[in-house]
Symmetry: C2
Subunit: 337 residues, 2 copies
DNA sequence: CTGAAAGCGCTAACAA
DNA sequence: TTGTTAGCGCTTTCAG
């Protein structure tokens, strides 16, 4: 029924090991033997059993990608398509398969990762990192299992692919300052997320360098993925020296804020500018279109798998932190007439 | 270094097969043996090697999901998140892993599918079907390999999870007719895609039943995933008896049409209504918000993996075609004041 | 350059 | 209820 390496060997009149060598492109096999074997493979339509191959070679030609769970839905929706696209575009050209993993709870995810790693189902892992993943990253580190983080890490031995969020946020804030804004609010996520606090840092830096005082009453931190309707906005917009612009850390927040501002009768960008990050479809489809920082999510994915496969080949780059460049996409929401 | 079933057996003072039986929860093992073995497993922190297990059991506890390539980007973007979310929500609770496959060309994809199937890397496959996949579906059928199609199939022996696109389109068209529209255009994709032609059928049916003549000059078929700017729209909108409503087959088309109509100085919905399918974020974020048919993409994914795992357990449902219900989300773009 | 033999880590008869 | 044995399909020494 199913054709094995033995069948091929028999038909070609050689031993199984020779067939194996031909398949693995071992150089020291004579041309005629190679021809015979390839012919037999062809005629029998033979395909090697990957499980057997993996068992003996202790490698699977499969990598895993760990995504944040539903608690981080908003975030993952944005990242998911693009990051995975970058990853699969690369693996599909390099004969690797990709196992996607996600779960509702950290415990579930832990279990899955352990099964993947300890069960030998994957050769390496790409981790969409965030604070909740610390224990998983710790586990991988302890196991000395090859992995790459998309995001940041405190540990300098980790391989990370990330943006320079401080500079990106500095840049987007300077864009507003250059337009003459001096009263600029910031709407971010929890400080415990490094991406979030870095973006706040860049914002602060831009203000300071421009001699603009930071006003705490214009700084908002929303628990990132919770439903919220930005109820503080009406108050801050009623101030005498209210903000004339907002830096937000994601397109969906920017979109929500713009809706809120509309409700309050404020026009974007005439009355107030809004800028954000990620350059997702939301920023392009929103009306007004939103000025947003392109952070290269596809490239984050692509670079992560590229790096991981290098590591697996034993060609780990000496520089363990890779920064993907950002680029501001200026649109209607921040254009001052 | 790495702990195997033999180590566990040795520590527990039993044979490897007994350990295996405990892990597989074979009922005829004494309680004390189970306890001893579990204890040894615990103490050694043992995890079975999945490759070895797969090799002997000829099953992998892994399924593959085949997505259309970049040529179908627009389509896949919409489906990708939700369908995969439905699939992974299920697999993560049932100890299955998911390999995602996609490729730029059909040839590449073919190769990958063959490797997955013939290489024994997956137990079954979910295929996001479309006309380009015929050869892949044919291959799977020839191989008698377990698979489920999300979409439709001519072949009654295939397992499919699909919408009732005719009725869905009938419903959305009736929604317009009930609002008093009698001049309704249709903007679809190529007829060769069954989803597309079915939606046209439903549209036609609704008109016919309502005694409204079908006017070919109001029917447009765009090659679905090409960039286009709907250049026929200005002409049709200049007709004396121009359409007062459009049925489109996806949110992104609807969004594009609405932009075009705005350029022409037409207001939606005051001058013309627009409805679409898929209820994606585009329909919710667009301004005006777009009336769109929710087709349950998450459920399509969920049902597909549910069905596939049943098949793999030998409990294939007798009914091979499953229809996921649709529901119209009425929004601003079709509200006649 | 090629073959024989051992073994990757596990499961599943078959005995006991 | 448990152990012994064989073997899943492949790669890889080690000889030759």
């Amino acid at each position: 029924m199913k054709v094995t390496i033995k069948d091929v060997a028999a038909l070609a009149g050689v031993s199984p090991s020779t067939v194996s060598r031909v398949i693995l492109e071992n150089p020291k096999i004579s041309q005629e033997t190679v021809a015979k074997v390839k012919d037999a493979i062809e005629r029998l339509n033979y395909h090697p059993n990957m499980m057997a191959k993996s068992l003996v070679s202790q490698s699977t030609s499969t990598v895993g990608v760990i995504f944040p769970g539903p608690t981080e839905q908003a975030f993952s929706n944005v990242f998911f398509n693009e990051a995975i696209r970058g990853i699969i575009d690369y693996t599909s050209k390099h004969n690797y398969d990709v196992i996607i993993t996600s779960a509702n709870t950290l415990a579930e995810l832990q279990k899955q990762v352990v099964n993947l790693v300890r069960g030998g189902k994957v050769d390496g892992l790409i981790v969409l990192s965030n604070r909740f993943f610390d224990s998983i990253v710790q586990f991988l580190t302890d196991q000395k299992f090859p992995f790459v983080i998309i995001g940041n890490s405190d540990e300098p031995t980790h391989f990370t692919i990330d943006n320079d969020n401080i500079t990106a946020s500095y840049d987007v804030t300077m864009h507003l300052i250059n337009q003459g804004h001096t009263s600029i609010g910031f709407i971010g996520g929890p400080r415990s997320i490094v991406m979030s606090s870095d973006r706040f840092l860049g914002y602060s830096k831009a203000l300071e360098e421009s001699g603009i005082a930071i006003r705490p009453e214009l700084i908002f931190e929303y628990s990132m993925y919770s439903e919220n309707n930005y109820h503080e906005i009406p108050l801050v917009m009623s101030l005498v020296n209210r903000p004339t612009a907002f830096v937000t850390i994601s397109d969906d927040i920017a979109f929500g804020i713009i809706q809120k501002l509309k409700e309050l009768g404020r026009k974007v960008p005439e009355d107030i500018s809004v800028v954000s990050f990620n350059n997702t479809i939301i920023s392009q489809i929103s009306s007004p279109q939103i000025t947003s920082m392109e952070i290269g999510i596809y490239q984050l994915g692509y670079a992560s798998i590229f790096t991981l496969l290098r590591i697996l080949r034993g060609e780990a780059p000496k520089e363990r932190r890779l920064i993907i460049p950002h680029r501001l996409m200026v649109r209607e929401s921040s254009i001052t007439k």
